[in-house]
Structure formats: C-alpha cells, structure tokens
C-alpha cells in the first residue's frame, strides 16, 4: 500500500507545521502557486508506521549476510553515525566562517592526511561525492595535465574489458574515447594487447587492482612502466581497496591518480544506494589539478584553500564541500581502526574470501580462476549447473534470498558466464560463511530434485520475481489519483 493510499483530505501531522503569520503578501499573485500538490495527508503515526513497515521489506547489513561482490557490505559502526551527527557538526552551515569551523576543518585536514598515508599518494581532495564522481575527477585531472603540457593529441583512455561500467562512461564524460583491453584466461591484463593499444593517442589507463575478477594484477609494475613510457597516466579505481588496505598502496604500484569509495573501504553507510564519497589522491605531478575545496593549515589554524591558491584545479564538483557528513563518518572509522586495524581489514577480508572459495570448490562448485588466490572477493561460475540442471545464477541468487541471505553480485563481470562475484568482508563471522555455503549446496540439491521449484524462487519475500519487461514497456513511474479523485 502506498503512502498516498493512507491519505485523507484534511488530515495532517499537526505538530509539524508552524502557523504562518501572513498570506504571502510580499509575493505578487503571478508568482504564487495556484494548485496544491497532491502530497500525502497523513498523521504522524501513520507516516511512522508506514515507513517502519516498508523498512522491514529490505535486506540490509544489519539484518542479513550481504556478500555483494565489489560493494564491500561490511558492518557500519554505529559510533560513526552518531558522532557525525553531534550538534556542532550536524548544524554547521557550509559557508560558516573559519572561526566557527575549526573542529570540522581540522577533521577534513586529518582525513586527507590519513588517506594520503594509506594510499601512498602525495595529496588528496575529499571533494568528489561518489566513486563515479571520483572517477570523473581523476580522468579530468589526467586531461588537464596533458592539456597543460600542450599535449592535446591524446584522445583515448584504455579500459580493461572486466571494468565496471562507470569507467568507460567516465572516459566519455571527460571527452575521451574508451578503448577496451582484453583480459587473459588467468584474469590478468593481456600485455600484448595492451602494448598494441598504447601509442601517442593514449591519455591513460583505468585499472582496478585487485581487478573486478577478484585477482591481483601481478604485472602491475610492468603495466605502469609501459603506460608511462607511452606518455599515458595510470588511474586506480579504488573499488577494491578493501583487499589491500594497509598491505599494498596504489601509490607504490605506480598509479598517478586514484579514487577511494569511502562507503566501501571506510564503512560509511550504503544508505539504499548512496550517499557515497569518492575522494581522489594524486602523485606529485597531478597535485595542481585536484578538485576544490581542500582543507589546508598554517600549522595552527585550518582553512579551505582558496581558488586563487589552486589556479590549475579542475574546479568544483559540488555546491559546497562534497558529502561532508560521510567524510566525518569515514574519519571516525579510520581513527577507530588505526594502523593495525587497517591491515587487519585486508587480512580478514582476504581470509574470509579464500575460505569461502575453498569450501565452495570442495563442494563441487566451479571457480572462475581456480589457479588464483582469491583477494577479498572471488568469482564462481554456475554454467555447469545452468547446463546440467537448468538452474541459472539468477535462480540461485533468488533462492538464496529465501535462505535469508542477500545474493552475491550476479552477471558481473560480464566476461564470466553465469557468475557470482562473492565478497564476504572481514566483519562476517565464520558461521555466516558456513551458512552461505550450506545454502548453496542445498539449493543445488533442490535443483536436482525439482529445478522448477528453484526457478520459481523466491517464495518467502514480500513479492516473487517481478516482471521487469512490463516495468520497462508500460512505464509507471509515479502514483496518480484514480479518475474522479483529486
């Protein structure tokens, strides 16, 4: 039932509206609204009950194991949330003067320093509001760098075929063409294809390492050298930073620019799809191009660096300072972890992934890259099950929901057919991992007994499988009152 269907004309949450003193006398008639928007008219309790009930129709980290590959669905510590909402921080106006901002600005400055340290980059800007915006900022900096060198013939960004879709989309937003580089059967980039693609038209390459195939790109140094020799720069997509946090730093691998997904690695909430935060870090030569604003200090007080201090910056990415409240949460998380805690993130996320991979292989499931070590995530392919039992990866995914677990990422990366990309994260206990493996084995048994039953899953959720063809053909994107109602 929609909130609109609880609505009755004249009902309202009376505690929530001030009595206005005037009738908008200062606003001439021509500017005023004539027809009232049909927003819900409900009591406060009705709204609270409705949205509480809706929440109960969601799977979440707080309620279920959520091994969604490439998304790092780890526990979001409650302290991060409550401390970011302390009165002086939550009520700070973005344009408040420095005199009333030292607490906030010092936090931003310290976070920049922390992120520099864990990534091995020379400088960091916290401005990007999400991973994709971080990608944009990164590629825009690469372009600004080449332009500043007068090197305008570079028109291509190389992107491995396993890359996240945001990579090629970002290259295009920055005015480049995206050129795909194939991966080899062992998951590493095809060096011969890379060599063949490099040239004076190469602006740079976008890499995720560990890659979206769940393996570490072993020849990264060689790739970096080849790309640099061709005059290109290396962009690191930080989607999988959790795998190497405190163990390996992108700066040491030879990357020139990186973005981090704080909602993954630094455990800020995923919020049903955002807000994220996608800070960018750069090597020395890209430093002048970082997006503004950035926090600076004179050793005593903190301030925003002015536009005059950053004349070559690619500019602003948001009206104010990005997703500041998310940055505060990431800061709290980083401080709670400390150096040792960071390393343990990589250690235990890798442990959990390798344990799951081994157990699934022992149970007869097929690893996409059986010869490789899993990183913090890994891929299994259910193509045998699809062929022999007629039960696809999607069917397994839906049936897992009935077992009270969120499905892994399905059908990504596109290279591996009928795949599951599984990322348990370090915060899951062994019994969650075991329960998942048991469920996978059980579903396979069910499929052997009655495939149709599995293909009909889920059965225990608020809805069964949805008709997304109908959703796209007969677009119904908003509630409208039925005929005769107003």
């Amino acid at each position: 039932m929609l909130i609109f269907e609880h609505s009755r004309p004249g009902r309202r949450a009376q505690a929530q509206a001030p009595a206005a003193r005037s009738d908008l006398s200062g606003i001439p008639e021509q500017f005023q609204r004539k027809c009232k928007p049909r927003l819900p008219e409900v009591s406060e309790m009705q709204a609270v009950r409705h949205y509480t009930r809706l929440s109960q129709k969601n799977f979440s980290i707080d309620t279920q194991f959520y091994p969604l590959g490439s998304c790092t669905m780890k526990y979001n510590p409650r302290a991060c949330n409550s401390l970011a909402m302390l009165p002086g921080l939550i009520s700070r106006h973005p344009l408040a003067p420095d005199s009333h901002s030292q607490g906030f600005l010092s936090t931003m400055y310290e976070l920049q320093e922390i992120l520099k340290e864990v990534t091995g980059m020379s400088a960091v800007s916290l401005a990007p509001m999400a991973g994709a915006q971080g990608e944009f900022a990164g590629i825009a900096m690469i372009r600004a760098y080449h332009d500043a060198q007068g090197d305008t013939q570079r028109t291509e960004i190389l992107v491995p075929d396993a890359a996240h879709g945001t990579n090629p989309a970002t290259a295009v937003m920055c005015g480049y063409q995206a050129r795909e580089i194939p991966s080899k059967a062992d998951g590493d980039v095809d060096m011969e294809a890379l060599e063949a693609a490099l040239g004076p038209q190469t602006a740079g390459i976008m890499l995720t390492n560990p890659s979206t195939l769940g393996v570490f790109e072993r020849r990264i140094k060689e790739i970096a050298d080849r790309v640099h020799e061709a005059g290109g720069l290396l962009y690191y997509d930080g989607a999988n930073l959790n795998a190497i946090l405190g163990r390996v730093r992108p700066g040491d691998m030879g990357f020139d620019v990186i973005h981090m997904n704080l909602h993954k690695t630094f455990s800020t909430p995923h919020g049903g799809g955002g807000p994220g935060a996608g800070p960018v870090g750069v090597s020395k030569r890209l430093q002048p191009f970082l997006p503004i604003p950035m926090a600076g200090t004179d050793g005593h007080d903190y301030h925003w660096l002015s536009e005059e201090q950053c004349p070559q910056s690619i500019g602003r990415l948001s009206a104010f300072a990005g997703n500041a409240g998310i940055l505060l949460r990431a800061y709290v998380y980083a401080k709670m972890l400390g150096a040792e805690g960071m390393q343990r993130v990589a250690d235990y996320s890798t442990l959990n992934a390798n344990y799951m991979l081994k157990r699934l292989m022992d149970a007869g499931f097929t690893a996409a890259y059986p010869e490789r070590r899993a990183t913090h995530e890994f891929i299994i392919t259910l193509k045998n099950e699809a062929r022999e039992l007629g039960v696809t990866a999607m069917d397994f995914a839906k049936r897992l929901l009935d077992y009270g677990m969120h499905a892994p990422t399905t059908y990504f990366p596109l290279l591996v057919s009928e795949c599951f990309l599984i990322e348990p994260t370090e915060t899951e206990a062994k019994e969650s991992l075991d329960a998942f493996i048991d469920a996978m084995i059980k579903i396979r048994e069910e499929a052997r007994a009655d495939a149709e039953q599995v293909r009909g899953a889920p059965y225990s959720l608020p809805v069964r499988r949805l008709d997304d063809v109908r959703a796209a053909r007969e677009l119904d994107l908003r509630w409208q009152p039925e005929e005769g109602q107003t």
Partner: protein, 465 residues
C-alpha cells in the same frame, strides 16, 4: 581490529581449510616489493569512548551560532521521526536495490519519492536522485544537449543570478564535452535576469536556458517570460528551483503555457541537516518525452509472477552498467538515504505543512529586513520580490561586520564581494522558520553596535585628520 569477529580457533580452522599456515601466505601473489610496511602516520586505533570524546571536542569547537546564512543551504526544522526512521538499519545499511524482491522497502519508497517530486514540481517524471543541486544542474545541462532535437547547439544560456558555486560546478562537469556556458546578466535594479539582454540572443541557436527560482539573490524571476523565450527560440528550459519554495510558488510544470522541460535543484530543504554542505541530494524531473535521456536510477511499478504489485529499477538500458561508454551519465549510486529522509519529511509535512513553513520563512525574511533596514544606512539592494533571502546594502564592507557579529556568535549572512564585486557592500541574508523574533532582534542590536562603533571610529578619525 574492532569489528572483526574471528576467534583464534576459528582463524586456525579457516587457514587449515584453505591449506596455508598463516594469513601472510594469502598475499603470496602480490610481488614482495609492493608490500608496504607499517603505516606510521596513522597511530593506533581508538576505542569508542576515546573517539567520542575527540569528536565531542571538535563539535564543541564549532559551536552552534545563530545562523542567517542561506546561499543554497537552509536551516529548517526536521521532524524527529525523519532521522529516527531513516537511521533504521534496514534503510541505512542496505544498498542499491539490485535484488528487487529483497529491496521492496527502498524501491517503494523511491517510487513514492518520484511521485511526490513530480507533484511538487508539476512535472511528468522524476529520477531517484542525483548527488546535489549543483551537479544535478550539470546533469540537466548534459541532458538538454542530448535531448534537444531542434538544436544541434552545445551552448547553454546561464544567468549570472544562478548560484556562483553551481555555475562553477557545471563548468567543471561539462567543459570536457565541448559545452559552452553563455552568461546572461541580471538587471541591477530588480535583481532579476535581464530580459533585454536575453532578447539580444534571440534568433541564435542554444540547447537550453537555465531559469533559477528563486535566484541566488533570493529574488523571484519572471519565469513565465523566460520559459516562453526558451520555447520560441527552440531552447529547452531548465528550471533550477528551491523545492520548499515550490509549495507556495508556481511550479516549473506550470510556467508559461507549456511548462519547463527539465527541472532540477537541491533537496536539502526537505529534511537534510546543514551538515557542512552534505550529504544533500539533487533532484531531476522532466517532461515524459525526455525520460530516456534522464541520468540516474528510475523506479517503476510492475507486478510479480503472481500478479501482485511490486517495484523495480527500470529503464536501466540508459545506465552505465549496461550502456557503458554510451550511457546517459557515469552516475551509479545516488543519494538514497537522503531521499529516504526527504520522502518521510514530505509525508509528515504534507502540502499544507510545506506551504506554511515556506510562508513562515517568507514572513521571517520580511521581518528581518524590516528590522535591519530600520537601523538606517541599510537597504535592500534589489527591488524584485523575494522568497526567504534578500541582498542588503551595508554602509561598510560586509566582511568587517560579519567578523564582529561572528565574535558574538551570529553568522550574519553571506558576503557577495568575491562573486559580485560590482554590487559593492552587498550582504545576502536569510531567515527560515527556525529563526524567531528574538533571534532577529539580537542580530539587529549587534549590527547596530557594529554601525555605531564604526561611526565612532570614523568620528575619531575625522578628529585626528
């Protein structure tokens, strides 16, 4: 360390299953020379009490000044229920609803959000949000360039009365695609976009005209005339609006005869705290015929296998995970949690509640202006009608007044000197429903002292001359 559940015994068991002696071996594919040592700059982890104290100290340092700054971020009351509900783990710790059956809560809420935004804006369709108002404007510009079939132009008319940070953001986000922003000046008398200057562009080819309502100065634009100009000149009209103001002002879908084509803005006034500028959310609505050019997630209502109503992501073929380099945008996640708060906020307020908050802001602004101008030497700089912000001309540099006011814990407004030096001593002030008469009186008294002491200072200087 603090959030890892493994016991030593479990660690042993797991390593045995994998067939390695220790965790170190799990990293054996990573070349030795790439491993970093201890991260010395980080220090050791803090337990919860320590970090709590640290953050409390920082928060106290920033204080809770009396705020009369608006300029794109507004201090509104947020019903207690909004964040209590949005902080539920089922909203807070879920992700993008890829598995629709396990995400009906988020999906239905987003569908309700789309419904409410289209109602508030009087538009046909809404997406499920973008990052913030400034980046939403950039996406609207890109969308207009893609969508305008009558024009091949990549030029956009951008009034100087649009928030300077928004204009800067749009520049960053579109410049690499060869899109040019052509500035339209404001009328120095009214503070509205100069229709005569716009008329000089008649007959030229533009992809779109941006129309702010209210504009950065708090002034109401003649939106009907601007929208009509765009239509006649085959440019799409992009409305940039404050969503709260739309509870009382004519909404973009009703501008001129046919309405604006695209509308966007920042959703912050709908339940997002000031929080140093974010997270807020950007909204984007359009006419039905442009829906396939929209960036970002869109939710549709459909049915399940049993014919029961349900909700799912739809029109995904526009998006980067399918279209890759040909997607409408690279955007992936949006601002889901903020949309959750906005949806609950709008449900609690209803149309009447939003309208009375909007009216109350307007009242308060008029009262504030009355109080401050009563000091003499201070006057509104523009003659156009206002919503809840106004530009005042001060008899001294605003930064000097602001510094003294801040010392008394009053944030007196936003100094326009950096972005509009031609306006002289111009200060943008705002009063929302959260300010009361006593607050304004306090501001008036302190400003009076600033003016008096300045006169005193001048008098002294005159004596020494």
């Amino acid at each position: 360390m603090p959030f890892i559940p493994h016991t030593n015994e479990e660690l042993r068991q797991m390593l045995d299953v994998i067939g390695v002696d220790n965790i170190e071996q799990l990293f054996d594919e990573i070349p030795e020379e790439l491993r970093c040592g201890e991260l010395r700059g980080l220090g050791s982890g803090l337990w919860e009490q320590k970090i709590t104290r640290l953050m409390q100290d920082k928060a106290r340092e920033d204080g809770q000044p009396l705020c009369f700054i608006g300029a794109g971020a507004y201090d509104h009351h947020i019903p207690a229920a909004v964040w209590q509900l949005a902080s539920r783990g089922e909203y807070y710790t879920a992700y993008t609803p890829y598995q629709a059956e396990a995400s009906q809560g988020t999906l239905q809420l987003l569908y309700e959000y789309q419904s409410m935004m289209t109602e508030l804006m009087a538009m046909d369709v809404s997406n499920a949000s973008l990052y913030d108002g400034a980046s939403a404007l950039a996406e609207a510009v890109l969308m207009a360039v893609r969508a305008n079939r009558k024009s091949k132009s990549r030029r956009i008319l951008m009034p100087a009365s649009v928030h300077p940070h928004y204009r800067a953001t749009v520049r960053t986000l579109v410049k690499n695609q060869g899109i040019e922003l052509v500035e339209i000046p404001y009328d120095p008398g009214t503070g509205q976009t100069d229709l005569h200057a716009l008329a000089q562009q008649t007959g030229q080819d533009f992809a779109a005209l941006v129309i702010p309502q209210p504009n950065f100065f708090g002034i109401l634009e003649d939106v009907d005339a601007l929208t009509e100009w765009a239509r006649v000149n085959s440019a799409l009209s992009i409305a940039l609006v404050n969503p709260l103001a739309m509870a009382v002002l004519s909404p973009p879908g009703e501008w001129s005869e046919q309405g604006a084509d695209i509308c966007c803005g920042d959703g912050q006034p709908l339940g997002a705290p000031l929080s140093s500028g974010g997270p807020y959310f950007g909204f984007l609505c359009s006419k039905q015929k442009l829906v396939r050019q929209m960036p970002g997630r869109i939710i549709g209502r459909t049915v399940d296998l049993d014919g029961k109503e349900g909700f799912a992501l739809t029109l995904q073929a526009r998006e980067q995970h399918i279209r890759r380099s040909k997607a409408t945008s690279n955007i992936c996640t949006n601002q889901g949690l903020m949309v959750t708060t906005a949806t609950i906020h709008m449900s609690l307020m209803g149309a009447d509640g939003l309208a009375s908050v909007a009216a109350s802001c307007h009242d308060n602004l008029l009262l504030l202006v009355e109080k401050l101008t009563s000091l003499g030497e201070i006057e509104p700089l523009f003659s156009g009608p206002v919503f809840h912000e106004s530009v005042l001309r001060l008899p001294l540099e605003p930064k000097r007044a602001l510094r003294t006011l801040a010392a008394h814990n009053i944030l007196g407004g936003y100094d326009l000197a950096a972005h509009y030096p031609e306006l002289g001593n111009a200060l943008l002030v705002c009063a929302t429903e959260s300010r009361n008469e006593a607050d304004m009186e306090k501001y008036r008294r302190k400003l009076e002292q600033v003016l008096t002491s300045r006169q005193g200072a001048c008098a002294t200087m005159t004596k020494f001359d």
